[in-house]
Structures are given as structure tokens and as C-alpha cells.
């Protein structure tokens, strides 16, 4: 008597080898997809959304590519997820983590084919990743105490991060900018305080870091365009019609005159409010919500600069920069903390007018104005700069740095190889495989640059046989070179996160021996 079915109609079940095959294939497909974007000579991808308008994105950022893919393969989803987490956590290395996890699985597939149990492979991988991490820890450089050297480290890290992106032409310029911006944060990782404004036009080289704060808003009509020694009130209050908030209140009148009276009272109320605001002794008023013509006019009369509809982030940043508090009631002007800045003026970038606050009390926040030929370029530039900022801000907290250009991978591979030789049992195959997967990263970097990867990696391996070697692949000149001399650095935190989450993800996929897919939820036909 056969069992007809246990699962629902459309549900499917894949077992054992087939399940493993499905997840290996899916994971490798994803890793191959982003592989070609790795390294300074990596290529970009065009993403076209299926939504209305078929918006196009051109990018080199692994996380962005993977985020926009619609994937059905469960194992592939795991990889997409780790790349996203890498993005959230350290901001860079989103491609490397997927490529490494893909390589680990590719090696694992070979091992499984030669009849090694997945659990043994996992045990080996774990030992190897621990060993690799220790190898890195041994070789880290920490210039925490030497401010000047640390700054130059940061600069080099920023340049290394940026050189794989569209900004590589002007990487010195942007690296300087990013480092300056991060130093202004004074150790906090709150990247919110760095505002990036994109304005098409000009060239990438025209981008600049502004000490002050730039608000992408217009100044009300008839109000001063330039204020020195400004006292700023940052507010979040309704300046259209001030509603009565008591629930159920409504106006019921029986004659036109009464309507007029109440309208008058309403206006009076608004006038009161404006008066109170003016009573704070300010000359600039920034509100999150709309400001209607009537109060705007009142402000103009009082010679006060009123800026309406600054969004939430703008308000928060402005509060941060000028040191004012965000106010919603105006009854006690003496205790409300006002923001101050030396100069408010309207500036022109390209064709747009922006409001520029300079000489602020608290120098934490700053603005980066990006210029570029098109929206796509600007978007990509923003993403690249964001990566650099993330890495830098994390590095400020964890000051350990490593050399780049495939150097860390070779160092790890060497240690892991040695561990494999020392380990008895089947695990050593897995450990060996781990080292092969690590070497795949410099190989890919070289391949993407159109270099003879086999030759270069072999050369590199030989170099690394010497103790304390700094050799890595210099993609620009296409040869093996001393990474310290060429100034190619990477943050330790990024490398560590890549190593750990790639191992974790591959372990997770390896442990699976059965995939059960539920019936997809039926969408009701919406007519």
C-alpha cells in the first residue's frame, strides 16, 4: 500500500544528495554572479528593476546587486543574507564574503563527491577558520597610539576600498574627504551625521566636503538670504492651521459673522504662536512641517529666515550640528536651547539653491556634496563613499589594520596548510580545501584584472614562504609586489567578518540534507 502523500499538493521534498546538489548549485551560481565584480579591476553590473519605469542601477557593490535579485533557491538566499549582514555590520567586503562562501562550498562539493561526510568537512572548516583568524591576529598592525600614522592608515584603507569602485580615478580626493568626515565624528559610528548630497553636473572631482551643514531647501520669499551670527530655533510643530487636538471638537456656528469671528480667532492664535517663536530672540526658524503663507509672511516681516518642510533627518542633523533642541512648544523661551552658527547663506551648486550653515557650534556633522555626470554615477558614487565611510568609522573603533591585495588570504592559507599537515584524520582534507578556497580570492582578483592568475598566485605563494613577507598582488602593475610599499591596506574587522560569516554560512548549507518546500501561498485574484 503506497502512501499517497504526506504533503500538500504543491509542496516538494528533496532529499540527501539531491538536496545537497541543489544548494551547492544555487550557492555557487550566486557566488559566480558577483565574482566578476571583485577587486580593483572588477566589472560592474546593470540592474534593471521590474517595477514601473524600469529604473536602472549600475553598481559594483555586492550587497546592492544581491539585494535586487529575486531568488528562489534557498541556499542562494542564505548567501544573499550574509552579504546583507556584512553590509549592515561593516559596510564593505560584501562581495568577498559571498565569493569566499561560494568557494568553500565548491571545495566541499568535491570532498562530498569523494565520500567525506559533511559533518567531517564542517569540523575541518571550523578548525581552519579558527586557525586562519589567529594567523591574521598575529600579523595585524595597530597604530592606535600614533595619530599621524593612524591617519595615513585610514587614508590607505579608504583608497583600497575606493579603488574597486567608480571613484577609483579620484580616489585620493575621495579618501581624504572620507577620512576627514569620519574624524569629525570623533569615534561615534553614527554615520547619520554625515550627509551626502547628490547634485548632477560637474565632474566627480568637483565633489567636496563641507565643514558646515547644507540643507537642501529654499529660503522663504522676502526673507534675508544671509544671516551672520544666527540663532536658530529647530522646531517640529504645525504651522499650517493649528488644529484643536481635543478629540471630537468641531465648529458649529449659525451665522456667517461667527465664522468670520472664529477665523479671526484662529489667525490670532497663529499670530500668537509666531510671536512666541519670535520672542525666543531668533533670526532663523527651521520647521519640520509645512509653514503656510500667513505665518511665513509674519516671519518675513520680523526679518526672520524661515525654512519649512525640512524632513526628519534634516531636523535631527540640524539639531546635532547647531546644538539646539527640537522644540514643539514655545511657552518658555528662556529655557529652550537655541542653536547657533556663524553664518547662514544661500549657495548655488549647479543650478540649485541650497542653504548653507557654517561655523556651527558642534562640528560633528558635515556634508559631502557629490557632483557627477549622471544620476547613475552619483548613486554609485554615494554607495562607494558609503562603503568607505562605514569601513573607516569601524576602523576608528577597532584600529587594527592588515595589508590588502590578497595578502591576508595568502597568510591565512599558509597557516591553514600547515595545520592540515599536522592534523590526522579525514578532517585534514577539509582543512586543505579551506586553504584552497582562500587562495581563490587572490586568484579571482588577478583573473578579473586580466592577469595570469596561475602564475601570479604561484609566485605569491613562493614569496609567502618567507617569514614576514608583505607580498600581494598589485593589480595596477600586474605583478607581485610589497603591499606595504604600495600602501594597500584593509581593515582587520572587515576581513574577520568575511572569514567568520562565510564559514558560518557554508557550514549552515553543508548541514542540510533535506529541503522541504511548502506550497506557495496562493494570491487571491484581485480583479
Amino acid at each position: 500500500m503506497p502512501i499517497d502523500k504526506i504533503f500538500k499538493d504543491d509542496a516538494s521534498e528533496e532529499k540527501g544528495e539531491r538536496a545537497r546538489m541543489a544548494s551547492f548549485v544555487g550557492a555557487m551560481a550566486i557566488s559566480d554572479l558577483v565574482k566578476s565584480t571583485l577587486g580593483p579591476k572588477g566589472m560592474d553590473k546593470i540592474l534593471q528593476s521590474t517595477g514601473r519605469g524600469h529604473a536602472v542601477t549600475v553598481t559594483n557593490d555586492g550587497a546592492t546587486i544581491l539585494k535586487s535579485l529575486h531568488i528562489d533557491n534557498p541556499a542562494a538566499k542564505v548567501l544573499v543574507d550574509i552579504s546583507k549582514v556584512q553590509d549592515d555590520e561593516v559596510g564593505d567586503g560584501t562581495t568577498s564574503v559571498v565569493v569566499l562562501a561560494g568557494e568553500l562550498l565548491r571545495e566541499a562539493e568535491k570532498l562530498v563527491a569523494s565520500k567525506i561526510h559533511p559533518m567531517t568537512i564542517i569540523a575541518g572548516y571550523r578548525m581552519a577558520s579558527e586557525c586562519a583568524r589567529n594567523a591574521l591576529l598575529k600579523r595585524v598592525i595597530d597604530n592606535k597610539d600614533n595619530a599621524e600614522k593612524f591617519r595615513s592608515d585610514l587614508l590607505k584603507i579608504a583608497m583600497t576600498t575606493l579603488c574597486s569602485k567608480i571613484l577609483s580615478q579620484d580616489k585620493e580626493h575621495f579618501a581624504e574627504m572620507a577620512v576627514d568626515a569620519v574624524f569629525r565624528l570623533k569615534g561615534s559610528t553614527n554615520l547619520e551625521a554625515i550627509q551626502i548630497i547628490k547634485k548632477p553636473g560637474g565632474s566627480l572631482r568637483d565633489s567636496f566636503l563641507d565643514e558646515g551643514f547644507i540643507l537642501d531647501k529654499k529660503i522663504g520669499i522676502g526673507q534675508p538670504k544671509r544671516i551672520e551670527n544666527a540663532n536658530i530655533l529647530v522646531a517640529n510643530t504645525a504651522m499650517d492651521t493649528d488644529k484643536v487636538k481635543i478629540y471630537g471638537a468641531r465648529v458649529r456656528v449659525d451665522s456667517m459673522t461667527k465664522v468670520a469671528e472664529i477665523e479671526g480667532a484662529e489667525k490670532e492664535k497663529m499670530k500668537d504662536k509666531v510671536k512666541k517663536i519670535i520672542g525666543h530672540g531668533i533670526n532663523c526658524f527651521v520647521n519640520r512641517q509645512l509653514i503656510y503663507n500667513f505665518p511665513e509672511e509674519l516671519f518675513a516681516d520680523a526679518g526672520i529666515l524661515a525654512i519649512e518642510h525640512a524632513d526628519f533627518e534634516g531636523i535631527e542633523r540640524l539639531g546635532l550640528v547647531t546644538g539646539g533642541e527640537i522644540a514643539s512648544t514655545f511657552d518658555n523661551p528662556e529655557s529652550v536651547k537655541l542653536g547657533h552658527c556663524k553664518l547662514i547663506e544661500e549657495i548655488m551648486i549647479g543650478e540649485d539653491k541650497l542653504i548653507h550653515f557654517s561655523g556651527c557650534e558642534m562640528g560633528q556633522a558635515c556634508s559631502i556634496v557629490l557632483r557627477g555626470a549622471s544620476h547613475h554615477v552619483l548613486d554609485e558614487a554615494e554607495r562607494s563613499l558609503h562603503d568607505a565611510l562605514c569601513v573607516l568609522s569601524q576602523t576608528v573603533n577597532d584600529t587594527r589594520v592588515l595589508l590588502g591585495g590578497g595578502w591576508p588570504e595568502m597568510v591565512m592559507a599558509k597557516e591553514v596548510d600547515e595545520l592540515a599537515r599536522k592534523t590526522a584524520g579525514k578532517k585534514s582534507h577539509a582543512i586543505e580545501a579551506f586553504s584552497r578556497a582562500l587562495v581563490a580570492i587572490p586568484t579571482t582578483i588577478a583573473d578579473n584584472a586580466g592577469l595570469d592568475s596561475a602564475e601570479l598566485v604561484a609566485q605569491l605563494r613562493a614569496e609567502h614562504h618567507n617569514e614576514g613577507c608583505n607580498a600581494g598582488i598589485d593589480v595596477i602593475s600586474g605583478s607581485v609586489g610589497d603591499m606595504e610599499e604600495r600602501g594597500i591596506y584593509e581593515a582587520f574587522k572587515v576581513k574577520q567578518a568575511v572569514l567568520l560569516s562565510a564559514t558560518e554560512a557554508s557550514e549552515m548549507i553543508l548541514r542540510v540534507d533535506e529541503i522541504i518546500t511548502c506550497a506557495p501561498r496562493r494570491r487571491e485574484d484581485r480583479m
Binding site: 500500500m1 502512501i3 502523500k5 504526506i6 504533503f7 500538500k8 499538493d9 509542496a11 521534498e13 544548494s23 541556499a75 543574507d81 550574509i82 546583507k84 549582514v85 549592515d88 555590520e89 561593516v90 559533518m119 559610528t189 553614527n190 517640529n236 510643530t237 484643536v244 487636538k245 481635543i246 478629540y247 471630537g248 471638537a249 468641531r250 465648529v251 456656528v253 469671528e261 472664529i262 479671526g264 480667532a265 492664535k269 546635532l320 533642541e325 527640537i326 514643539s328 512648544t329 511657552d331 529652550v336 568609522s393 569601524q394 567568520l500 560569516s501 558560518e504 554560512a505 549552515m508 542540510v512 540534507d513 533535506e514 529541503i515 522541504i516 518546500t517 511548502c518 506550497a519 506557495p520
Partner: protein
């Protein structure tokens, strides 16, 4: 389908729409049911034990779960067969009752069904088999009691507890840092345990996860963690020695439940209303301030105006805190949940040593830590991990470990794991079988066979020769008359589970056997399956 006809040849209608239903009867029904039950058990079999594999489940919305936990696998499997659903229930009730051993119980039930099938082929009546199983299970449970050991621990020496939790965790993906997780679980349970009454309220342990960092960063917080931030960006990020007002009323104008209208028809009324409104906000904030609160935690939202007033009066506040969290905060800080501003009094405030906001990663993620609470009876386990699936799986594993620790506090008895307890029971049941006259004897023997299948699956999953290993261990147990020999899953080199420190709780094991027997009995008693055929 057999129909009954009356003398005129018209069919009697016994079941409504009888010809649209499929019907299985007698031995066919039992066989079909057994086959379905076995199919479910087969899926879980490879997840058993420290070397068990995981399952990847894709939900109806394309979401992915990777897990090793029997109850979770079955719950998400979306089964359609009634008997399979029974097995799902079985695993769930083990989960509710004990929290651990959800895979084992299904594997056990599957093995019992498999044995029952053989007995059916011999022509033994299903009821006799069921009775035999019942007797056997009683023998097994008694034997477990006999071979169990009490072990001693107290607040200062919780090492044995940690060992047991480690056994549970070793089969999960988190076994990389099982030691630290086990310690966290035990400490958490001990923190909330009522050792006098031997009871643990697991609701007091909150398990919170956040993607990012690594598993090693998982920590135990003696306090509460809420995924919220201060209502106003400029409120202080850290408050020492906080007095917390816990409110369930919004900082908004009152909204009476009854329908009402406030009519404005004159200018005066308009103005008084305006004044009242302002006064209202002012009073609310003032009341909180008056009772001496230094932090307001509110279940509802704030009006912009109220928000600023709070900020202005230097009263930090958190809004939109969920009901469950609110209760936990109340328990932890010793405060009372206050539904109205009028009822706010100084005694009702909760107290906490430190309240601080902490941000994570590069995105705008902040969480609020409430620590050093007056009554530290609520703790939070904060899990970090590489990705979402990892966090979810860790949560489940921690839950299992917490349950095990709780069970041990309730009942200190343990049995040895690694299949040792099953093998010992199997021997005992086998020996007892000879004493029963009658057909049941066969059923009891079958039960003993079925008990062997758990260690067998363990050995299989660990890549050992199942039959060889099992027989070796069995003979060792008989020869030395020591019930501590089990399957050496981790290839340590010894079969003695005492040396390997592999324990399981006695109640967990007993429950497994009892529940599995019950379900199998139920399935065996079914002799007619009527189902609607495809329509």
C-alpha cells in the same frame, strides 16, 4: 465501496455523499496509517544526535528556515495527511511539555509503528499489539526510574546543569560555542528560578536576537532589552538610577470611549478649548515629574507637543513599547503598570540602576538596555549571529537548553544519553517479555526492538556501523551490568557516557516513551479512514 441495498435494490445512504468519499478499512487502513507515520519519522531520522543533519524549509512566502529541531521542522512542513498531522502534534506536545527531545519522540514513534506492522503481518490483532506496547512502556518507564541518578547542584555549583545543557546544544548548529551558550542558559534559568518551589517561569527569560556580530558575542543581560529608542533624538542616552513610570495611556488628549462632540460656536469657547489643551499636556508631564520619575515608558505614542515638553522638562521617554515587554519591565523593575495619569504615585515607579541606549553596526539600529533592576527576576538573552537564519536557529536551541535546565530544577534525576538509556530499557523490556503469557509477549518484544532504533539512528548519523556498534554496546551493558554505555557519536574513544558527560533529563526520556506509545496506540486503533476524495 460496499453499499447496502434494501429489498427494492435502492442503496441505503449511510454516509452523506457516500460515493464521493474514499474509504479505507481494516488492515489496509492500518497499513496506510503506519506508512504515513513512518514517512514522517523517516524525514526526522537523519536529524537525530550530535552529528544529525539540518533541514532547509522554504515557507509559503519563500522565507527560509534552517533547523535541526524536530518540532520546528514538523510545524513548518505543511503536511496534509491526517496521521502525519498526529505525528506533528506528538512532537509539539513534547515541545510544550519538555522542550527537548522533539526529534527523538518522533523517531521512537516511527520505530514502534514499523514494528507494529510486522506484528500485523503475523496476524496479531492491533488491539493486542497496543496492549503489549502499553505494558512494555510501563516497564520501560519504571526501569528508567531505576537507572536514573540524582545529581546535586546548587546556585554556586551549576556545573552539572551546564553539562546537561551542553548535551542538548551539541546537536545544533551552535555547538561551536555550546559551552558559553549552555552557561548563559543555566545562569538565566537560575536567575529566575524559584528554588524553594522548584519552579521556573520561562516567561521571565526573554530571548532577543539581532543580526550582526558573531555568535560568541551572545550575552546574558540581567535586565531587559527593548528594541526601541528614546522618543526624542536629543534625550539623554544613559540614565543612572532611573525611576521608571510605566504607562499604558498615551500622551495625547483624552479620547473618551463614548461618542461625543465638542461644539465650538463662539470665539471664547475656541480660546478656552485651546487653553485647556495646552494645560492638559502640561499636567500630564507635570504629574510624571511630580512623582519623581526619571524615565517614562509608554505603550502608546506621543503627540509632538507632549514629546517636546517631556524633552524640555528633562524627562526621557520611550514610546510604542509592546505589552509583553511592558509587563516584563514592570516585573523586573518592581514597578506597576499605570493606566491613568491620575493614579501615578511614587510607589508605583519601577527602579533600575542603569538605562542606556546602544547602537549597532553601520545602520541606524539602537536598543535600550535596562539593567541592574530592583527585582532582577527578569533576564534577557541577547543573541548575535551572522545571519537571520542563524539567529532563529540559535533562539530555538537556547529555548531547548532553557527547558532542559528548568526540567532539572524541577526534577533532579538524570539518565545517560547517547542511546544508553534506550539500550538499557530495551534490555529490561526484553527480559520482562518472557514473563507475560499470551500474544502480548510478541508485542513487548517488538517494543524492545523499537527502542533499539534510537541508538541505531544515532550510530547511523555518526557514520558508524549501526548494527555492529549497537550489538557491541548492548553486550557490554549486559556483561558489566552497567547501564551507562551508549553510542560514541563524537568519536571520543569511550562508550561510557559518564566519562563523556552526556546526560538527559529523566522526565524528558520518560515523556518521550509515554507520548510515543500513546500516539502509536491511537494510530493502531484506527481501522477505518473516511476522507473526502478530490473535488
Amino acid at each position: 465501496m460496499a453499499l447496502a441495498f434494501d429489498e427494492f435494490g435502492r442503496p441505503f445512504i449511510i454516509l452523506r455523499e457516500q460515493d464521493q468519499k474514499t474509504r479505507l478499512r481494516g488492515i489496509d487502513a492500518q497499513k496506510a496509517n503506519i506508512a504515513a507515520g513512518k514517512a514522517v519519522a523517516r524525514i526526522l531520522r537523519s536529524s537525530l544526535g550530535p552529528k544529525g543533519m539540518d533541514k532547509m524549509l522554504q515557507g509559503p512566502d519563500g522565507d527560509i528556515t534552517i533547523t535541526n529541531d524536530g518540532a520546528t521542522i514538523l510545524e513548518q512542513m505543511d503536511v496534509d495527511n491526517q496521521i502525519a498531522k498526529l505525528m506533528v502534534e506528538l512532537s509539539r506536545s513534547q515541545d510544550y511539555e519538555i522542550g527537548d527531545g522533539t526529534t527523538g519522540v518522533v523517531v521512537m514513534a516511527g520505530a514502534l509503528l514499523e514494528q507494529a506492522e510486522r506484528q500485523l503481518d503475523r496476524g496479531i490483532h492491533p488491539i493486542r499489539i497496543a496492549e503489549g506496547y502499553e505494558m512494555a512502556s510501563r516497564v520501560a518507564v519504571e526501569h528508567l526510574e531505576r537507572i536514573s541518578q540524582k545529581f546535586e547542584f546548587d546556585i554556586n555549583n551549576f556545573e552539572p546543569l551546564v553539562q546537561t545543557c551542553m548535551t542538548t546544544l551539541s546537536s545544533k548548529i551552535v555547538n561551536r560555542c555550546k559551552r558559553s551558550l549552555a552557561e548563559i542558559a543555566v545562569k538565566a534559568v537560575l536567575a529566575v528560578a524559584d528554588l524553594e518551589r522548584r519552579d521556573v517561569n520561562l516567561d521571565l527569560i526573554k530571548v532577543e536576537g539581532k543580526v550582526g556580530g558573531k555568535l560568541e558575542d551572545t550575552e546574558l543581560i540581567y535586565g531587559i532589552l527593548i528594541d526601541k529608542d528614546m522618543s526624542h533624538p536629543q534625550m539623554p542616552k544613559q540614565i543612572e538610577d532611573a525611576h521608571i513610570a510605566i504607562l499604558t495611556c498615551p500622551f495625547e488628549p483624552p479620547k473618551p470611549k463614548t461618542k461625543h462632540k465638542v461644539d465650538i460656536d463662539t470665539v471664547e469657547k475656541f480660546q478656552t478649548l485651546r487653553k485647556q489643551e495646552q494645560q492638559y499636556f502640561d499636567e500630564m508631564v507635570q504629574k510624571c515629574k511630580d512623582v519623581g520619575a526619571t524615565l517614562v515608558i509608554c505603550q502608546w505614542g506621543f503627540d509632538d507637543e507632549a514629546n517636546h515638553l517631556l524633552m524640555h522638562r528633562n524627562l526621557p521617554a520611550v514610546r510604542w513599547v509592546g505589552g509583553v515587554e511592558l509587563e516584563l519591565i514592570a516585573i523586573a523593575t518592581g514597578g506597576r503598570i499605570v493606566p491613568r495619569f491620575q493614579e501615578l504615585t511614587p510607589e508605583k515607579l519601577g527602579k533600575a540602576g542603569v538605562v542606556r541606549e546602544k547602537s549597532f553596526g553601520t545602520t541606524k539600529e539602537r536598543m535600550l538596555y535596562i539593567e541592574h533592576c530592583a527585582n532582577s527576576k527578569a533576564v534577557t538573552i541577547f543573541i548575535r549571529g551572522g545571519n537571520k537564519m542563524m539567529i532563529e536557529e540559535t533562539k530555538r536551541s537556547i529555548h531547548d537548553a532553557l527547558c532542559v535546565a528548568r526540567n532539572l530544577i524541577r526534577n533532579k534525576s538524570i539518565v545517560y544519553g547517547g542511546g544508553a538509556a534506550e539500550i538499557a530499557c530495551s534490555l529490561a523490556v526484553d527480559a520482562a517479555a518472557d514473563k507475560y503469557p499470551g500474544v502480548e509477549q510478541y508485542a513487548i518484544r517488538a517494543f524492545a526492538e523499537a527502542l533499539d532504533s534510537v541508538p541505531m539512528a544515532l550510530a547511523e548519523n555518526s557514520g558508524l556501523q549501526p548494527i555492529e556498534t549497537l550489538s557491541a554496546v548492548k553486550s557490554q551493558q549486559i556483561k558489566e551490568n552497567i547501564p551507562f554505555y551508549g553510542i560514541d557519536c563524537n568519536d571520543v574513544g569511550t562508550n561510557d557516557m559518564r566519562e563523556q558527560d552526556v546526560f538527559e533529563t529523566l522526565i524528558g526520556k520518560q515523556q518521550q516513551i509515554l507520548l510515543a506509545t500513546q500516539v502509536v496506540k491511537m494510530i493502531l486503533k484506527i481501522d477505518d479512514v473516511i476522507s473526502n476524495s478530490e473535488y
